[in-house]
């Protein structure tokens, strides 16, 4: 155990991962410089430039080549510099990575991890603040996980690599350095497909994931000050969703707020709402609220704060469920 930032925890996970000779890490600027966020710092030196591979600027090529490697028995870990740069590779992900198992009826598979630094809140340039998990969660054949702490960042990454199927692995940029915590050494896994109740509560369920866990926890704190007991759920795996944990919580509290920074319309929050109302409608004492980014492109630095869900917005939404 040692205290690490999320960036360090990810670096540690990759270091552990590379002890398996089938593993390569591949992406732009991840070798010599250790990546735009220094997540791969020192790994090329330690494990060799043939296994921590710097590539030309070509996201589709990176994913497509990694797919070929995976089919041929390797375990590639792809780094996209930002989620917003993953779109050129979308066809490779959806038409090939996600489908080769079905296309070949289990004869060929593409066990690989695609790491996507995502999210806003650091005043970055356009395309650098995306949170478009919804374009991946809808695609059969993919699993989608989102880290929220240094500890689960490492555990989920190692679990993703161990998974026999391709995993979209989202890393909240805003937490790379901001999140610090105890991280076990060596290899361990955080199970894919299980949500976690971070804090028990009785009045309202706050359901979120990734970077928004920070605002969610803050909101829960403020609600506690007002005498409202919030249960906090970190979804962690978007696909396959641990619906049981969420539904059980809402069945108990009768109220829920779903929080994500992606735009509202067609965001993953809608799926969670749909499942909650399907399985716990008669327990609902108020409509499930969604606190999300708005249906606009994430603004640049000046106006970004108007876009991001804040603890204040979460608290008001929770209050709305209590009034309802």
């Amino acid at each position: 155990m040692s205290v690490m930032t999320m960036a360090q925890a990810l670096n540690s996970a990759l270091d552990v991962a590379l002890s398996d000779p089938r593993v390569v890490v591949i992406g732009e600027d991840i070798g010599t410089t250790g990546g735009v966020f220094r997540i791969t710092d020192g790994l090329a030196e330690k494990h060799g430039a043939e296994r921590v591979i710097d590539t030309p600027v070509a996201e589709s090529g990176i994913v497509g080549a990694a797919f070929g490697m995976a089919v041929a028995g390797m375990r590639p870990i792809v780094e996209m510099q930002f989620m917003g740069f993953s779109y050129p590779a979308y066809d490779q992900v959806i038409s090939h990575v996600a489908r080769i198992r079905n296309r070949s009826r289990n004869r060929f598979t593409a066990p690989m991890v695609i790491r996507l630094p995502y999210g806003a809140g650091i005043g970055a340039a356009e395309h650098h603040s995306e949170s478009t998990e919804a374009i991946y969660t809808h695609i059969p054949g993919l699993k989608v996980v989102v880290a929220s702490t240094p500890e689960n960042a490492k555990g989920l990454l190692l679990a993703a690599l161990d998974d026999p199927d391709p995993v979209i692995y989202m890393e909240p940029i805003r937490l790379y350095r901001a999140a610090r915590g105890e991280v076990p050494g060596g290899r361990y896994m955080t199970p894919i497909g299980s949500a976690v109740v971070e804090q028990g509560g009785t009045d309202v369920s706050l359901v979120s994931y990734g970077a928004m866990m920070r605002e969610t926890r803050e909101a829960a704190g403020r609600l506690a000050d007002e005498g409202v007991s919030a249960e906090i759920i970190d979804v962690r795996t978007l696909v396959p969703l641990d619906a049981d944990t969420i539904v059980a919580s809402v069945a108990k509290t009768g109220r829920a707020v779903i929080i994500h920074e992606a735009p509202l319309t067609g965001g993953y929050g809608a799926e969670i709402v749909a499942i909650v109302q399907e399985r716990a409608l008669y327990s609902l004492r108020a409509p499930v609220q969604r606190v999300t980014g708005w249906d606009v492109v994430v603004p640049l630095r000046l106006a970004e704060r108007h876009y991001m869900p804040s603890a204040t917005r979460i608290v008001s939404a929770a209050r709305r469920t209590l009034e309802g």
Binding site: V24, E50, R51, T55, P56, A58, S60, G61, G64, A65, A66, F67, G68, M69, A70, V71, A72, G73, M74, P88, D91, Q92, S95, H96, I100, R101, N102, R103, S104, R105, N106, R107, F108, T109, P140, G141, K143, P164, D165, G193, V239, P240, L241, D242, A243, D244
Partner: protein, 346 residues
């Protein structure tokens, strides 16, 4: 870069290369060509009878396909397209599987263990980079296997072609790029597909060699691919081969090629038939006769009919089975959906 098409046998069956071909080898290639042609005709017929959904006939391109895979060892990979059934078959991917896919059965995509060929690519252009990744893995894993990818002239316009070629050049992966330039991409003539004079010259952009061959000359294609495979195996990197050929029929069985091209063009290419020149040469060597031809056709037909029978004997999918190949272990949501689907289908 020499962009003259390499040729070994003229359409008249005259040998033009330096060393004379080996009769036994040529007879083997001829046998493959005959089987390839018969399968293509059978598949088209099955489609007309409604027993296949659609089919993409390759008549006219048999030499390019047979010649392409002849140099491959069984440890080498083939990453090919929807029109490359003959190439796939002669790299070990059973006719049965190719038929199943065309019947609308995903199990066609599951070739026997040991067959190193991905299911044929249906999207245009996305698969070439897979052959780069596979070849790269072979290199990293220390084997000397190579990967051959086959695609059409249309596919060279796709961005992924560029990224594949560039990666292959940068990492010197043992990848062989074989373009069957059959003159058309559905209704788009080669001349409007790209303004470059040849496809082969595109290799200049990636720092490795390109070569043009007579794609209706099985021996020329085989020679070029052998050279490329040998280079690749020796660690000398990739090569692009443009095989000049022609598809005699429509793009698929659903296509009316009379809408975009004239019959005279087709006739010119019929005269360059890839089987006939081999037959003529063999005949000139006293290594062909009607009896042998009948024997070949009979053997091939029996193989093909057996494949058809086997494919058609497979029962259809149950509702539950459609959930069996999304993840290795069905996820909780899929287990739930599966039970609903099973209930709905009762």
């Amino acid at each position: 870069m020499n962009l003259e098409p390499h040729q070994v046998l003229t359409p008249e069956g005259v040998h033009t290369g330096p060393a004379a071909p080996d009769v036994g080898t040529v007879r083997a290639r001829y046998e493959a060509l005959v089987e390839a042609r018969l399968y293509d005709r059978k598949a088209s017929a099955l489609q007309r009878q409604g027993r296949l959904a659609t089919y993409a006939p390759y008549e006219g391109q048999e030499a390019a396909q047979v010649g392409a895979v002849a140099p491959l060892a069984s440890r080498d990979w083939l990453v090919a397209s929807y029109r490359d059934a003959a190439a796939m078959r002669f790299h070990g991917y059973p006719w049965k599987n190719l038929l199943l896919t065309r019947m609308g059965d995903e199990r066609g995509g599951h070739p026997p263990e040991g067959v190193k060929a991905l299911p044929p690519s249906v999207t245009v252009g996305g698969h070439m980079i897979h052959a780069v990744g596979i070849a790269w893995a072979d290199k990293l894993l220390g084997t000397d296997a190579v990967a051959l990818t086959m695609f059409g002239d249309g596919a060279t316009s796709v961005g992924d072609f560029h990224e594949a070629m560039n990666f292959a050049g940068v990492y010197r992966t043992p990848t062989v790029f074989l373009c069957q330039n059959n003159g058309w991409a559905i209704s788009m003539p080669r001349s409007r597909q790209t303004a470059s004079e040849t496809i082969a010259q595109k290799a200049v952009a990636y720092g490795f060699p390109g070569k043009v061959v007579d794609g209706n000359d099985v021996l020329a294609v085989e020679e070029a691919v052998t050279e490329a495979v040998t280079r690749a195996r020796a660690g000398e990197g990739p090569m692009l081969i443009e095989a000049l050929t022609y598809r005699i029929h429509g793009h698929t069985t659903a296509d009316d090629h009379g809408r975009y091209r004239v019959e005279e063009e087709v006739e010119i290419w019929r005269a360059r038939d890839p089987l006939e020149r081999v037959r003529l040469w063999l005949d000139g060597q006293d290594a062909w006769d009607d009896g042998w031809q009948a024997e070949l056709e009979d053997r091939a037909s029996r193989r093909i009919e057996a494949a058809v029978a086997e494919a058609e004997s497979l029962v259809s999918f149950t509702a539950g089975e459609i959930f069996d190949a999304t993840y290795r272990e069905p996820t909780a949501p899929l287990r739930l959906q599966r039970s609903r689907a099973e209930r709905a289908s009762e």
